[in-house]
């Protein structure tokens, strides 16, 4: 087999997360390309959770498969949720302690359904909590991996807790392994790979790595799902790199702290999700008005208000585009893969300093929390461009008492000095100001300053502002963020059936790459804009820029579930 999808589900607190971690560690080391997504609900203990892992011996993957080959169910919800999503000849293992086989009516007929005593085997080793290790043993056996690598990872993981715990877990693993071996159960093995070294990590983790590599040395945050991991990971590692991370009392403070640190010259950021974005709106406006660099990650989640905090949505686009009062320059970058999430941090910090304005990373819950195999960090992609900074030497030559921090220039970008630089002192105020930064209400200055601020970003590009794949003569599929994987596979399926489909994934959402998109739209017969929100926010932005409204179709999803390639295929068929 080239590909395989394994799902394990149960109640929160049943160790689903550990299964995912151990499994992916081993498979990643063996060189497989992985994609993993964890479904979870917003309660601490109890409530269903599952981990869906797609393993590929070949190409990189960016989305879960629509069908599972191997399902492990610790709870009934796992069966209920996945019964319609099983691949041909799949294997289903369930624990009869918590799952009722009487409800198996709709399970596919070709599936191999096995009652497996997870809990009991774990208890035999001393504690039912280890049923997740039993499950790993079974997966190892079913997929015919060698147990060695698994045991090493398990040992590693529990070594801190003492030899006794390690042994118990190994025993549980072995019991699971023996169980399937004894029963003679196995699935078709995966084609082995001999691929190069890889990283396997989530979007949140990738953004943390990217931030550190980009020279970010200050982060202030406030916990919020699903952005908290960014704060937590940065707090853990930042001291090693000489930076500072602060958990503030709220988002009003965290964003203002970041602005302050940035004023002082440090690359500074904050990370949040929906409600935090709303609270930060005023400060975003300040950053734009005083032309102080600022990077904000928004890991979008289900809105509005408290909404669906643990579910997927891409519904903060209008808030990022126009949520602050008045008008400011801003840049919005949308990573669509884990790798992009990592490198986009470098781009974001460079643009923030080059253009002296706020930069949003428009991430989303799936991008933030799903994990992908990705290339090893390439530090050469993180060359720091600190923008128009003035050197101490030049300042000494000028020897001006008040530095023209907001000077009108040809490219609308003013030279910038940093506290501590002699002859660089200046005033930064959110009130409209002249070249020295001091307030003025003069209409002529006002007009010039607004134009300076608003038009400076016109030259922004992140290289590939729109990621274009395929030749979209028949169908052009447009999207942004983590829907990339589903759209990509939909395109492939269209192409497989002879339809000329292509995708245009927006990587730069603002300033909007209108011209390029207009050309793409004009060349396609049908255009579908795919997004996880109610109103078709991206489609609406496109309509502002592209005349051909009639051609543009919205495919939206706002129930917290993810797009599958087949959703797009079905929609397109219905259109015709």
């Amino acid at each position: 087999m080239e590909e395989l999808t394994i799902v394990i589900g149960g109640e929160q607190g049943e160790g689903i997360e550990s299964v995912g971690e151990i499994l992916t560690k081993v498979l990643s080391q063996k060189g497989f390309n992985l994609y993993g997504f964890r479904n979870f609900s917003s309660r601490i203990k109890g409530g269903h959770s599952d981990f869906n892992l797609r393993v590929s011996s070949g190409r990189e993957i960016y989305v879960n498969a629509e069908r599972a080959n191997l399902l492990i169910a610790f709870d009934q919800a796992t069966i209920d949720l996945y019964k319609d999503q099983m691949a041909a000849n799949s294997i289903i293992l369930y624990d009869s302690k918590s799952v009722n086989p009487n409800n198996f009516a709709d399970l596919p007929e070709d599936a191999l359904i096995i009652e497996a005593p997870f809990q009991q085997l774990a208890l035999e080793c001393g504690n039912s909590i280890m049923k997740n290790m039993v499950a790993i043993g079974m997966i190892c056996g079913l997929n015919q991996h060698s147990p060695m690598e698994f045991k090493d990872v398990i040992k590693d993981r529990f070594s801190k807790k003492g030899i006794k715990i390690v042994e118990m877990n190994i025993e549980a693993f072995e019991k699971g392994h023996d169980f399937v071996k004894e029963k003679g159960l196995y699935s078709i093995p995966l084609v082995p790979v001999t691929d190069s070294r890889k990283m396997f990590l989530s979007g949140n983790e990738a953004m943390v790595i990217g931030a550190v590599a980009a020279g970010c040395r200050f982060m202030a945050g406030y916990p919020i799902t699903p952005a908290s991991e960014i704060l937590e990971n940065l707090i853990k590692i930042m001291p090693e790199y000489g930076g500072i991370v602060v958990q503030a009392e709220d988002e009003l403070c965290s964003v203002a702290m970041a602005i302050g640190a940035s004023f002082a010259g440090t690359r500074a950021m904050t990370a949040t999700s929906g409600p935090g974005v709303s609270l930060m709106q005023e400060a975003v406006g300040l950053s734009g008005a005083v032309e102080i660099p600022l990077v904000i990650i928004d890991t979008q989640r289900g809105g509005p208000s408290s909404g669906l905090a643990t579910k997927m949505e891409q519904s903060d686009l209008t808030a990022m585009l126009g949520g602050t009062h008045g008008e400011i320059p801003r840049i919005i970058i949308s990573p669509s893969t884990i790798q992009e999430a990592m490198y986009d941090m470098g781009t974001a910090f460079n643009l923030a300093e080059q253009y002296q304005c706020p930069v949003f990373i428009a991430a989303d819950l799936v991008l933030a929390t799903s994990k992908q195999s990705t290339e090893i960090l390439d530090t050469r992609k993180f060359e720091m461009d600190r923008g128009k900074r003035v050197t101490d030497e030049d300042l000494l030559l000028q020897e001006a008492k008040v530095f023209d921090r907001f000077a009108f220039t040809e490219d609308y970008i003013s030279p910038r000095t940093i506290p501590g630089q002699k002859y660089g002192t200046h005033h930064a105020t959110g009130i409209e100001h002249g070249e020295t930064g001091h307030p003025t209400e003069d209409p002529i200055n006002r007009k010039k300053m607004m134009i300076k601020r608003m038009e400076k970003i016109n030259s922004v590009t992140i290289g590939e502002d729109i990621k274009v794949e395929g030749v979209a003569e028949d169908i052009l599929i447009i999207g942004f963020g983590s829907t990339y994987g589903a759209i990509k596979e939909a395109c492939e399926q269209f192409q497989a059936s002879g339809i000329k489909a292509g995708l245009a994934h927006l990587r730069l959402l603002h300033p909007f790459p209108a011209k390029q998109l207009e050309r793409l739209v004009s060349m396609a017969r049908q255009v579908i804009v795919v997004e996880n929100n109610y109103s078709g926010q991206l489609a609406n932005v496109i309509k502002q820029h592209v005349q051909d409204h009639a051609k543009i179709q919205k495919l939206t999803k706002f129930d917290g579930t993810l797009f599958k390639p087949s959703d797009i295929l079905t929609f397109s068929k219905e259109l015709v």
Partner: protein
């Protein structure tokens, strides 16, 4: 050698003649010179209000931020560059109304900066509404029937929040004002100085005359021990906050000193940087 000229701007403050904020401006500039701080080493962050305009009248690295968020911003500045002398200033509405939360948290965090509030017991810039320190019963544009609310007590608030330096001054006594600002700037940690700074246009109750008549000078009070929290709390009760002087002072670790080892040693405020291979391997080690 820093001189007064370095700190002065060619801009005429847009305050009303007689406004208490003039004294605060002058005092800060003079203290900076006394302490021989170069203008480029001072970061002066202010909030929004008449008082908030103060940072624009000082030649230094100055920032006029958002209503209520000056302290949040100022903490970021200081953490990013501990070599800067950071002053933060604003009004009573700015600091004790919309910005009170940051006040309390900055105080307990003990970031090393000096926070000066020009407390005129009124909203000046918006033309005379009651503020959180307006006395109960005071008539203002937004309390035509008299302020129905008991005012906030900034000094006890500061004490409860763990501020490690708390003082109160009066614009009418520039000498003491300067002395307290100087002490505050020399204090290692969060220093809070509440300044009675009369609004001659909108506050006809809490005037220069009123303060002159009613203020007690704590610095001259025998037996008062500013290291005693309980004593400080009681002093505020007893005087009804009508005092000037150093109320409380404590030596304790600043936030920067309490952070994990290594923190703040490479803030890259001015350098560029590229991750070396060893650090890179460390960074990615959890994910390979």
């Amino acid at each position: 050698m820093a001189t007064l000229k370095d700190y002065r701007m060619d801009i005429k403050p847009n305050w009303c003649p007689g406004c208490g904020d003039f004294s605060v401006l002058a005092a800060i500039q003079k203290v900076a010179v006394n302490l021989n701080i170069e203008a480029e080493d001072m970061a002066f962050i202010s909030g929004i209000g008449c008082s908030g305009r103060i940072s624009g009248y000082v030649n230094a690295y100055t920032m006029h931020t958002m209503h209520g968020r000056a302290l949040a911003t100022a903490q970021g500045v200081k953490l990013a560059n501990p070599d800067l002398h950071v002053i933060c200033a604003g009004g009573d509405g700015d600091g004790f109304g919309i910005g009170l939360n940051h006040f309390a948290h900055a105080a307990r965090r003990n970031v090393d900066l000096t926070y000066i509030v020009m407390d005129n017991q009124i909203y000046g810039l918006t033309k005379g509404q009651m503020s959180p320190t307006s006395p109960q019963g005071m008539e203002t544009k937004s309390s035509p029937g008299g302020n129905p609310e008991q005012p906030i007590n900034p000094l006890q608030m500061a004490l409860a929040s763990g501020s490690s330096f708390i003082a109160q001054a009066f614009s009418g006594d520039v000498k003491q004002l300067m002395s307290l600002i100087e002490q505050g700037m020399q204090h290692k940690g969060f220093a809070f100085i509440n300044v009675f700074s009369p609004c001659v246009t909108f506050n006809k109750v809490l005037t220069y005359e009123y303060f002159k008549k009613n203020l007690v000078n704590l610095d001259e009070k025998e037996g008062y021990d500013p290291s005693n929290r309980a004593m400080a709390f009681n002093m505020v009760e007893e005087t009804g906050s009508m005092f000037t002087g150093l109320l409380y002072k404590q030596e304790r670790k600043t936030l920067t000193e309490s952070l994990p080892k290594g923190s703040g040693t490479n803030m890259l405020t001015r350098d560029t940087f590229i991750l070396d291979d060893i650090m890179k391997e460390k960074l990615i080690s959890r994910y390979v």
